[in-house]
Structure formats: structure tokens, C-alpha cells
């Protein structure tokens, strides 16, 4: 739950689409819908305590899938000394792990438990004298496979029988399935130049459809592998743990790992001591990516609106700036004109005044002159009269 929420919060921030993102996720990971596998689908229970590392399952697998014979024959057990993974020509491998802790509980349990009604955990031949544990590895056929979720051409499908199938006629060879698989199972024909395929266990789907057991289960001499309906297998596994609590850790590997797998495992020691990761979490692959995928429609829906809005705003800002500029220019012009008119008026007034003064002085001058002249004339006249 927390992972999904964190992812969603991330996307809210990223897409700047808060409430809408939440609405978009209802159909996906955030809802309480859960896929628990097809009802009645099959699986295999691998009881690690029973495996003796005979490699017969490897041989059967190789033969059923018509693989080339390996360099070392299948009865050569020295191969087990090195931890192996699945390869293009080996869809299943058995690995050996030295057990340390288990000795005490093994000795306390071995021998009895002859409950005839229990044919599963009954005859505990538990640990062989070498003191090693053997673990078979193959595709776990997840209920919600990471490979199928990751494949961008739907080449992987979860079949109703439980098998995860691969359709090579669609495969582009991008190898994202191999990146996605938490168990590092799919392999790739790197040496095939033009028609490379992804190779992995098929759960022997063709044999299941014929009503047969998967080849590895059929050949197992120790009943370390049990084929059946997954729901049934979980019940049986739980029964074994309950009945022999000292023989097993209280954990059915595959019941919840990565949303659950069709293969289930029982172990006498913590699973990370036998090369199986316990930190995978319970979230299936689709749950991990649903948040990111649900943001797609929101981005597609909201971005154009937001961006057009920003465009409109910046356009409008330009337009307003232009108008303001025009207005400002007009105002400056008007002001200038007004000022000019005022100045002109003043100038006119000043000029008028000056002219008036000038006229006045001129008139005065003329009058004065005339007065002087008449005065002079008068004195002259009087002088002449005298």
C-alpha cells in the first residue's frame, strides 16, 4: 500500500495533476481489486527437504524440450558444486547449498512420522548425510508475471492452467522481460543473429493439455515435486509445516512473493540461505507500474490545456504590453501638444504684452516729442512776438 501511495504522490507532483491523478488510478493499482490467480489453476510444490539433487528433473526437462545434450552427463553430480542459473538450453537447474543450522532439528525429527494417512511429509528422509540442501530452479509462473506485464507486444501470457507462455512469433527481442523478472529466469539466444528467442520453462503446458504431469514432476523419485491445484498445494504445504514445525521455516515461498507464484517452496532454512530472495515484497509487477501508467491519460488530457493557457497568457501579455505602449505614446504625444499649446499661449501673451509696452512707449515717445515740439514752437513764437 505504501509503495503505491508514494508512487502516486510522485506522479501528482510530476504531472501537476493532483486530484485528477487519483481519479485515474481507481481502475488500476490503487483500488482494492486483487488478482489471486485463475481459479483452479495448477502449480507445483517443491519441498526442498526432500530433494536429493539427483538431477533427473534436469534430464527429463532437457529431453522433453528436445535440448542438445550437455557437455557433462546428467548423472555427473560434480556440476552441483557451482551455483547455476537457467540458460538457453537448460530451463531448470538444481543447486546445492551447504546447510549448517538445520542439523539439530533434522536429527530430532527423522525416523518417525509414519502416519500412513500423510503421504506428503510422512516418510521424512529429510537431509541426506552429506548435509546439503538441493533447490530446483525454474520459471515460477507468477500469478501476475512481471515478464508479461513488461512485454510491449504481449508475447507472454498467463494461461488459465497456470503456465506463463511465450509466443515467439510476436517477440521483438528487446529483453525487457529479463530486466523485469525478479527471479532472473528468462534467457535469450544471444548467438542467434536473426531469430533469437527468449527461452524459459513452459510448465510443460503441452503435456498438461494432454493430461500428463510436467516432465520434472513425473520423474522426481523423491516426491520433492508435487503437481496440483495451487490452492490445494498451499493447504498441503501449510499442513506439512503444521505437522513438522521443526522441519520447516514457517513460510511458503511463492504464496505471496511478487503477488504470488504458481510454484511454491518449502524449506528447512530461511529461503535467502538457499539462494532465494526474501526481499521481493508482495506487490505484483503490474502494481509497481500501475501508478506511472495511470498518469498517461492525465498528461495527455491536461498538458494541452495548460500549455495553451500559458500560450494564451503570454500572447495576451504581449498584446497588453503593445496596447499600453501605444497608449503611452499617445499620451506623451498629447501631453507634448498640450504643453506646446500652453507655451505658445504664454509666448503669445508675452509678445502681446511686449508689443503693448512697445506701442505704449512709442506713443508716449511720440506724445512727448509732440509735446516738446509744441512747447518749443510756443517758446519760439513768444520769443518772436517779443
Amino acid at each position: 500500500m505504501t509503495i503505491t501511495r508514494r508512487k502516486f504522490l510522485g506522479w501528482i507532483g510530476g504531472a501537476a495533476a493532483g486530484s485528477a491523478t487519483l481519479a485515474g488510478t481507481v481502475a488500476h493499482g490503487a483500488s482494492n481489486k486483487e488478482f489471486k490467480g485463475y481459479p483452479g489453476s495448477f502449480g507445483v510444490l517443491h519441498d526442498i527437504t526432500k530433494c536429493i539433487g539427483c538431477r533427473k528433473c534436469e534430464q527429463a526437462c532437457s529431453e522433453v524440450n528436445a535440448m542438445p545434450a550437455p557437455n557433462k552427463p546428467f548423472d555427473d553430480l560434480s556440476v552441483l558444486e557451482k551455483e547455476r542459473r537457467t540458460t538457453v538450453t537448460t530451463h531448470t537447474v538444481v543447486n546445492k547449498f551447504d546447510k549448517r543450522e538445520f542439523d539439530k532439528s533434522a536429527t530430532s525429527q527423522s525416523g518417525n512420522a509414519e502416519d500412513s494417512g500423510d503421504k506428503l511429509g510422512g516418510d521424512k528422509q529429510v537431509i541426506n548425510s552429506s548435509g546439503s540442501l538441493f533447490v530446483k530452479k525454474q520459471c515460477n509462473h507468477c500469478l501476475e508475471p512481471a515478464c508479461a506485464s513488461a512485454c510491449f507486444v504481449n508475447a507472454f501470457k498467463k494461461d488459465r492452467t497456470g503456465a506463463v507462455t511465450y509466443n515467439e512469433s510476436l517477440c521483438v527481442g528487446c529483453r525487457y522481460c529479463m530486466v523485469a523478472c525478479p527471479f532472473n529466469i528468462p534467457t535469450y539466444e544471444y548467438d542467434e543473429p536473426l531469430t533469437p528467442r527468449v527461452m524459459k520453462c513452459t510448465l510443460c503446458l503441452p503435456r498438461i493439455q494432454e493430461g500428463k504431469l510436467p516432465a520434472c514432476v513425473e520423474i522426481c523419485p523423491k516426491e520433492a515435486l508435487v503437481f496440483g491445484e495451487r490452492e490445494e498445494l498451499i493447504k498441503q504445504a501449510r499442513m506439512r509445516i503444521q505437522k513438522y514445525p521443526d522441519n520447516y521455516v514457517d513460510h511458503i515461498y511463492g504464496e505471496h512473493e511478487m503477488g504470488g507464484t504458481s510454484w511454491l517452496y518449502l524449506s528447512p532454512v530461511p529461503f535467502n540461505e538457499v539462494g532465494m530472495r526474501e526481499d521481493l515484497g508482495k506487490h505484483s509487477a503490474p502494481e509497481l507500474t500501475a501508478g506511472a501508467l495511470s498518469a498517461v491519460p492525465i498528461v495527455v488530457g491536461l498538458w494541452p490545456v495548460l500549455l495553451t493557457g500559458i500560450y494564451a497568457i503570454s500572447k495576451r501579455k504581449d498584446k497588453i504590453a503593445q496596447e499600453e505602449q501605444k497608449e503611452a505614446v499617445a499620451k506623451v504625444k498629447e501631453d507634448a501638444q498640450e504643453q506646446m499649446a500652453l507655451k505658445l499661449e504664454e509666448l503669445k501673451k508675452k509678445m502681446n504684452k511686449e508689443r503693448e509696452i512697445a506701442i505704449k512707449t512709442e506713443v508716449k515717445k511720440a506724445l512727448d516729442q509732440a509735446a516738446k515740439a509744441s512747447e518749443a514752437k510756443a517758446t519760439k513764437l513768444s520769443e518772436e512776438e517779443q
Binding site: P186, Y190, V300
Partner: protein, 410 residues
């Protein structure tokens, strides 16, 4: 003066004859790389991935994805960043930077698509996810669809330059009229595929080191693509100024410093924000204790050395209007993006595997990547030599900003 020189230039480019190749040292090295690429191509398609690469079942993705795809797409983000800055956010002074950025982006994406043909097993099926059997639950489908569509968008955005070169005025003005729609479409598609490249790794929390794995991966990739794009525009601009200065017109030259400083300011802000959300990611997953391990040092090396420091350098460059300093910062920022993408796809991926099972690229893988980058540079040089990328075509000088170009035929 300028009008004259431009008309001479336009006469030069209207000349359909292609100049003879001069055998300068650079051209000789280029030729050697191209020939080597040819042989590597043969080795890849006749021998399979196994002959050329160090890939194996635990390490299905190598440098062809980590560098060619992830870095290629991030560094080609300049296209959407520049065109949205200019056309959507109305920063007209970035106008002369749009064409080179679109060209780089188009070539970048074209090369990503080209490189994918080497990496996938059956390249002729690359159209399958879009046209034949879409796996819609896959983030790789989202990447594929968006990259495919965006490549088309970039191609259309690029065509006006080619139409101007070829003198096709009517169709050129039609395409120029689509600028806004194409830009918005470009941002939508870039948001989606830049982020979903990060989201590709959401499916593998058990394989990617917790310091790099985060529910925010898509956000990190998208945000970092922004400053990757800006830094690449600055970096590429400094290269273009060194080698293609004579191709630039006065507008480009007078605007280029403003573009560098504008982008370095923006990049500085975005990088600070990116640092912030990286810290939030650390806090939310409570990954602080990992910081005191070797991986933590490497994480801090990336984050401080190649995000915080270039962000600070950008800020100083923008404040002091120091174009040279901004260009140095852009080198660090670009290296930081490459480091981040390689960390997520290769270095911190499968970190829990013993070193004997880890991946290191073969020389042939690296050489193929070098070949593909070289191919891009050759095409870039050809296009900038003949088409109006770093200058405006004299016939369209004034209607580049005014999108309703008058369509008259000569």
C-alpha cells in the same frame, strides 16, 4: 552589408552541388569510425548479439540501452525545451536557438531509433508494438509509442528548413502554420516518454540499488530531461560557435549569448529543484543509512559533483553574465546526466550480483555507440552546411516569427 552576405550565402546553398570532402584529420578519423561501424554492423547481424556484446542472461541491457537510448533521449530534450520556451512561453529571444535544437533533437531521436535496430533481436518487428500487437501494460510500450510519434513530430518541425533549402514555399508556410500544435504535441509526448524511461525500472525494485530506485523515478527522469536539454543546447552551441561560426547570421550571433545565459539561469533553478526532489525521495524511502556505504559515496558523487556544482556554476554564470563559465557548467551537467542514466541502467542495476556476474561493455559495443554518435555528427554537419539552421533564409527573414507566412510562388 549583411543583406549582401546573406544573399551570397543563400545563393551558395541554393547551389545543389555538394562540396567535395576535404581530407582534414577530423574527416579522416570520421571516415575510419564509419568504416569500422560498417564492419561492426556486419558482425552484429551475421554473428548475433553474442559476438559483439558482453550481454548475458543476468545483464540483458548494456550500453546500447544505457547510453544510446537513455542518454540519447535525455540529451535530445533540447528540442521540446527550446521550442516550448520560444513558442509557448513567448520567450522570443530564444528564436534563433530553436532550429539548431530541433535539428539536434530530431537527429538524436533518429539515432536512438537507429541504435535500437542493433540492440533488439528482430529489428524488423520494431513496428509490432505500435501496429500489430500493442502490449499496453508495458512502460516500454509507452516509450515506444511516444518516441515513434515524437520522431514524426520532430521530423515535421524540422522540414521547414529543408523546404527553404529546396525553395518549396507553399508547403513550407503550411508546416510553419502548424508550429503551435506541433510544439504542444511535442511537450506532451516528451513528458510521457522522458518520464517513462525512468518508469521502466519501477518494475525491478529488487535489482536497482535503493538509492537510485524510487517511486519518483519517472519524475526524476522528466525533470532532469529539462536541464539535460538546456545544457545540451548550451554545450552544442559552444561547439557550433567553434566550428560553424561562419554559418551563423547576425541575429543568431547577437541572440546566442542571451540564449546561453537565459538557459543557464533556468537550468540552475531546475537543477536546484531536482536536488530537492532527490532529497525528498531519500527521505520518503528512509534511505539515509545507505549514504554511508560505498554506493552512498557514488550517489553523492553524482548528485553533488554533477548536479549541485553545475547548478551553482550556472547560477554564478547567469549572475555575472559569464557565457564561458556557463559553457563549462554545461559540460558538467551533460556528464551528470550520462552518469545518472548509466548508474540506473548499468552501474547500480544488478548491484547485488557478485562482481564476476556483473556486466562491462565489450570494446565492440562501445565502438558501435561511438559509430552511431559519429554518424549523427556527420549528418548534423551536412545539414548545417546546406540548410538554413544557424541563420535565417533571406526569403523568410521576417515571417519566421509571424507564422502566417505569405505563400507566393516565384
Amino acid at each position: 552589408m549583411t543583406l549582401q552576405t546573406i544573399s551570397i550565402k543563400s545563393r551558395l546553398i541554393n547551389n545543389p552541388l555538394i562540396k567535395k570532402v576535404e581530407w582534414t584529420p577530423v574527416n579522416i578519423v570520421t571516415a575510419i569510425i564509419l568504416v569500422m561501424g560498417f564492419f561492426l554492423t556486419i558482425a552484429r547481424f551475421f554473428g548475433g548479439l553474442g559476438t559483439v556484446t558482453n550481454l548475458d542472461d543476468n545483464n540483458p541491457w548494456g550500453v546500447w540501452i544505457g547510453f544510446d537510448l537513455l542518454c540519447g533521449v535525455a540529451l535530445a530534450a533540447g528540442g521540446y525545451v527550446t521550442s516550448s520556451a520560444c513558442y509557448i512561453f513567448g520567450l522570443k529571444r530564444f528564436h534563433s536557438a530553436v532550429r539548431p535544437a530541433i535539428l539536434t533533437a530530431f537527429l538524436g531521436y533518429a539515432l536512438v531509433a537507429f541504435a535500437l535496430n542493433y540492440d533488439v533481436g528482430r529489428p524488423w518487428r520494431l513496428p509490432y508494438p505500435v501496429f500489430y500487437s500493442p502490449g499496453t501494460s508495458s512502460l516500454l510500450f509507452e516509450v515506444g509509442l511516444c518516441v515513434f510519434l515524437y520522431l514524426n513530430v520532430l521530423f515535421i518541425e524540422f522540414t521547414p528548413a529543408a523546404f527553404e533549402w529546396l525553395g518549396l514555399k507553399k508547403i513550407r508556410s503550411f508546416v510553419v502554420g502548424l508550429t503551435m500544435i506541433l510544439t504542444i504535441f511535442g511537450v506532451v509526448l516528451s513528458t510521457l516518454h522522458q518520464s517513462s524511461l525512468g518508469a521502466l525500472f519501477l518494475i525491478a525494485p529488487s535489482k536497482l540499488h535503493p538509492l537510485w530506485y524510487s517511486g519518483y523515478l519517472p519524475v526524476y527522469f522528466f525533470i532532469s530531461s529539462m536541464f539535460a536539454g538546456m545544457s545540451m543546447v548550451i554545450f552544442e552551441g559552444s561547439l557550433a560557435h567553434k566550428y560553424l561560426h561562419h554559418k551563423m547570421d547576425d541575429t543568431h550571433l547577437s541572440e546566442s549569448d542571451g540564449v546561453v545565459l537565459g538557459f543557464s539561469k533556468a537550468a540552475s533553478f531546475v537543477m536546484m529543484g531536482y536536488l530537492g526532489i532527490k532529497l525528498i525521495g531519500l527521505a520518503i524511502d528512509n534511505n539515509w543509512h545507505h549514504l554511508f556505504t560505498g554506493w552512498g559515496l557514488w550517489f553523492l558523487f553524482e548528485l553533488i559533483g554533477f548536479v549541485a556544482i553545475p547548478a551553482f556554476m550556472y547560477a554564478v554564470a547567469a549572475r555575472d553574465k559569464n557565457v564561458k563559465f556557463a559553457r563549462i557548467a554545461s559540460v558538467f551537467a551533460v556528464l551528470g546526466i550520462i552518469l545518472n542514466r548509466l548508474n540506473i541502467s548499468l552501474i547500480a542495476f544488478n548491484w547485488h550480483l557478485p562482481s564476476s556476474q556483473r556486466y562491462f561493455p565489450s570494446w565492440m559495443e562501445i565502438a558501435t555507440s561511438v559509430f552511431i554518435v559519429t554518424l549523427g555528427i556527420v549528418v548534423y554537419r551536412f545539414i548545417t552546411a546546406y540548410m538554413p539552421i544557424l541563420y535565417e533564409h533571406s526569403d523568410y527573414k521576417h515571417d519566421n516569427s509571424n507564422q502566417n507566412a505569405n505563400s507566393h510562388d516565384d
